[in-house]
Symmetry: C2
Subunit: 600 residues, 2 copies
């Protein structure tokens, strides 16, 4: 009774009409082959494969979960076969370096495909999401012989990668890790320690699992400046790429979780397992950030995908559900009651969900476009500007997309009434599956600290100024009657953001607790401003499409403008509260004695 | 690893110092016996019994769930024995009429005990919650011989009651029910139909189950004006109160739900089951509202109780958890990291949770005080004023307490990082258990419609005027430096509410969709204003306690003022957004064609 069709019309609209991806690709030699037609064929086939292979396994996978027996982890029925099908279609190495059997797709396209993955099966989607981040890290930091051995089978989805960071006593504070690496002969290391919450740490879907493990060398400085990254495969790999003996690592347990039950969340024990140092010694945190930043956007897209499937499923339910009469005139007088969408409050929930989803889709694609620019653009200045925007927007993408994605699943669940709480409709699974996205990959609080600390305070607002300049340049061009409300809202909200930023920078000088106190609300404010901008872009493209009889069709453009107006009128005002809360500063938070928080 | 101790100090503070319950009880003959000392003894014993008997069954009950076999429903291990223990202690008939073996406690006390029930075991709490509403209805509407037979065993917890309203095609819109009642001899009726989502419809804890069932008589008018209430016992009851043969009703299935898994949510099939008409024919909806209003406040308290246990458990976790260093100076330089409460953003989450809980506790007790006034006050004008406030505040209590309770469980879960997502810590269960409270007993959207429709528009704002007069009279008395910010906030927010109310009433004339469009945000605004008022009351009592060396102690009063300041500075500003959203009106919601909502 869950319902999903990949929102291809909206994806095409965002890519081709809002962000003009084909024009951008054409301007960069490395992406010149990707025209609208090829992109479209990829998205259509991506929709087909995820809808056919993954969506049917979503509820069954949740019910069955993963199981550990004699050290082996079994994934839910159908996962292994689906993994093979997707791997053979090249879908698991979509953004990978083509020199090593990757598909080399622009990020703007892989973002759209990732949304389909998460929407159809968030548990499954995590295995390739980790793999993609791992290959990205190896592509950037591993020496060529290692790349030659490891990257092709990982890009082909025959092996999958993991990220082993957390230990029982430290998640956020990785400087505290205890896992150690002892040098062996031949540039090899013996890795010993225990890692927890390792997604896909052990499972039955592929021939080998490639762990990227944070550990400390014997001479490591204390804290986070003493961490290194090691590649530690489940099966040792011979020089010719064939598999050797089992490495000294094992799965010590599976977590029982609220959701994403088809994703194997493992305790991984490394007992002198052989590994290879990747990147510079003690620079592991910086090295790992290549992977972490990848995962942060990916997890943001988890929120988006789940918000989308939650919306579609709820609307599919609403299609048939009749309760009570419309406020003025019955809409279906021949039926015992009207469809629930006659009720303004039901529409409010539906429009909230939809406005977050559509704003989020544009935002994720926009971040993708900047990542493509960083990677492929021939002009250094363009690359630098894009890199600044990516640095600034990554924590927002992770936290805001997942906060809004979770809110969307909760709002969608509410649309069902009591059915939303019952397992068979699927709505409650989306809520459970979305909840983790606000927690892992750096909690959303950590993202907010990253935003106000590294991305704002450290450069005294330089990234924000850059963002404001780009946004303002985008706004200046036009303002028809239709677009004026979007333009005004953007100008007003950007001015608010700038004023809040300036005040915060001043207040935080010598008072670092002011950054932490403002962090969450500042990220929320920034997210709202960014979405307002995305809605401006979409409104502009929709108006253009209406005038030019664009490919998405008049009804689509009208609906887009209508949802956008709802966003401006009934969701964006939240910034008024955020502004005031940020100005309240740290004092109300810090006044209470620590002891007074704890229960007796 | 979950942690709960009934917040007795805060409960005493609210009862004795904020609402001055003992003085109120002394002024009413029926409650004159309840002094502070007796009330305290009851709360202490209530805390002991719920902590000892129910809390240990909460996680195990979630894991085990209820099971249906051969028509019999088994509750989780320990539930039956706990039910017996609580019944024997008189805890299951706490507010019941003492003429029929009830304990006759004031509502202000039963509200506090209900919070403990829901906090320690929300699944278990629902069985007595339904029973209490059922006995209230019977006490008001059943003829005396029926009361003599049914009420004593129900008050003693030997039998338990249920509420059978929903059918598969109708939850909100009860006018659509199909269950029918055919007259038999001796004022009996044969009830035939199928009901769903019946909490405690069948289980193994007690000897008999007393269903209150909505059904239609043969001559019933169409719609909600043709519904009647019938008492339909699982076992027929002889005139002497002994149990006769099994009635023609059975459990046809159990729902698989997101949470409250220890609560048996039953499909109940009535196959010509014998029942007794309760109240007037065709007046069943009005009759049932006695029970529904009881349940609405009770479900609000579910949100509160779960918010409280979620907060306490999270803080118990925080006590031991060390991650990263404080922004300025390390708080625990001798340890590898600082306690997480040094971080402003962690405090933000903790204070949000706590401010909702403490505001909610005062609010629930305040509604309880008005219910006591309605029931016991000797003066008719006082009863009438209290009745108006109860009518106005009941939908707010149900919806706002459950919205905030759910938000509190989500915020508390976030405090754990990844541990919050893992089952063994218990945090995720609170989220799942709290989610239903926004849905059942009339969705929170329905509560909002009740507020703007029946409680606002129908009397042209008369209840709101009354509320404003009472609140303003309460404010006028004093404004020390400490209290001035609370006073100012209340004045400002009350003025905002009045202005929004006036504008809405005007806009809604002839445009009923304006009510629905404003409903959710109006209820949220009203909830914020009400909590601001409660925080004013608490701040006043805390200041008084500080001056007079009050019983809760200086640290408690200081903390109370501190949490209150956080509420005013960092949570109340949400009203700015709500005001603007309400003024946006219905147009942005109603513009989009219904068909445009549905996925392709």
């Amino acid at each position: 009774m869950a319902f999903y069709r990949a929102p291809l019309t909206d994806m095409r609209f965002v890519l081709n009409e809002v962000l003009e991806a084909p024009m951008m690709w054409a301007a960069m030699p490395a992406t010149a082959e990707f025209g609208a037609e090829l992109a479209d064929a990829i998205l259509e086939e991506g929709a087909r494969v995820t809808e056919a292979e993954l969506f049917p396994l979503n509820q069954t996978g949740d019910a069955e979960g993963c199981h550990l027996k004699d050290g082996e982890v079994s994934t839910p029925a159908g996962f292994k076969a689906a993994c093979k099908t997707l791997a053979e279609g090249g879908w698991l190495g979509l953004g990978g370096n083509p020199d090593y059997d990757g598909q080399g797709l622009p990020k703007m396209l892989t973002v759209a495909f990732e949304e389909m993955l998460y929407a159809t099966n968030a548990s499954f989607a995590l295995y390739p999401a980790l793999n993609n981040g791992a290959t990205l890290l190896l592509d950037q930091y591993a020496p060529d012989p290692i790349k030659q051995i490891y990257l092709p089978p990982m890009h082909r989805g025959e092996w999958l990668g993991t990220m082993c960071l957390t230990e029982p006593h430290c998640g956020t504070d990785l400087g505290l890790i205890k896992t150690r690496a002892e040098p062996l002969a031949d540039d090899r290391y013996a890795i010993t320690g225990s890692k927890i919450w390792i997604t896909g740490g052990e499972h039955d879907m592929v021939d080998n699992i490639v762990h990227l493990v944070l550990a400390k060398l014997p001479d490591a400085p204390a804290g986070s400046r003493g961490i290194s990254v090691f590649l530690v495969p489940k099966f040792k790999v011979n020089a010719d790429g064939t598999l050797g003996e089992r490495n000294a690592l094992s799965c010590g347990g599976l977590e029982h979780k609220m959701g994403i039950k088809g994703s194997a969340t493992c305790v991984m024990n490394f007992d002198g397992a052989e590994g290879i140092l990747i990147g510079e010694p003690h620079q592991g945190l910086a090295t790992m950030f290549t992977m972490m930043n990848y995962e942060r956007l990916s997890i943001g897209i988890q929120g988006l995908g789940l918000g989308e499937v939650a919306y579609q499923s709820a609307m599919d339910f609403a299609r048939e559900r009749l309760q009570s009469r419309a406020p003025s005139v019955p809409a279906a007088p021949d039926k015992p009651a009207d469809p629930i969408l006659v009720h303004p409050d039901v529409r409010r929930m539906a429009l909230n969900t939809r406005a977050w989803n559509e704003g989020g889709r544009a935002f994720a694609a926009f971040v993708g476009s900047q990542l493509d620019c960083v990677k492929f653009h021939p002009d250094a200045a363009a690359r630098e500007q894009a890199a600044d925007l990516v640095a600034l927007l990554t924590p927002i993408a992770k936290a805001f997309l997942t906060d809004r994605g979770f809110a969307a699943t909760v709002e969608a669940q509410q649309l069902y009434g009591g059915n939303g709480y019952c397992v068979e409709w699927g709505a409650e699974q989306y809520v459970r599956d979305a909840r983790i996205a606000m927690i892992y990959e750096g909690t959303n609080g950590i993202q907010a600290m990253d935003l106000v600390g590294r991305k704002l305070f450290r450069n005294r607002g330089a990234y924000v100024e850059r963002f404001a300049a780009v946004m303002r340049a985008d706004l200046a061009s036009e303002a028809s009657d239709t677009l004026a409300p979007f333009q005004r809202a953007c100008e007003q909200e950007l001015a608010r953001l700038e004023a809040v930023t300036a005040a915060l920078l001043e207040r935080a000088d010598g008072h670092p607790e002011e950054l932490g106190a403002a962090a969450h609300d500042y990220l929320q404010l920034f997210g709202h401003v960014t979405y307002a901008w995305m809605w401006w872009k979409m409104a502009r493209a929709a108006e253009h499409g209406l005038r030019q009889d664009g490919p998405a069709g008049a009804a689509f453009y009208q609906a887009k403008l209508s949802v956008g107006r709802h966003f401006i009128a009934r969701m964006l005002p939240h910034t008024l509260a955020l502004e005031q809360q940020i100005h309240a500063g740290a004092e109300p938070l810090m006044a209470l004695d620590e002891a007074a928080f704890y229960p007796d």
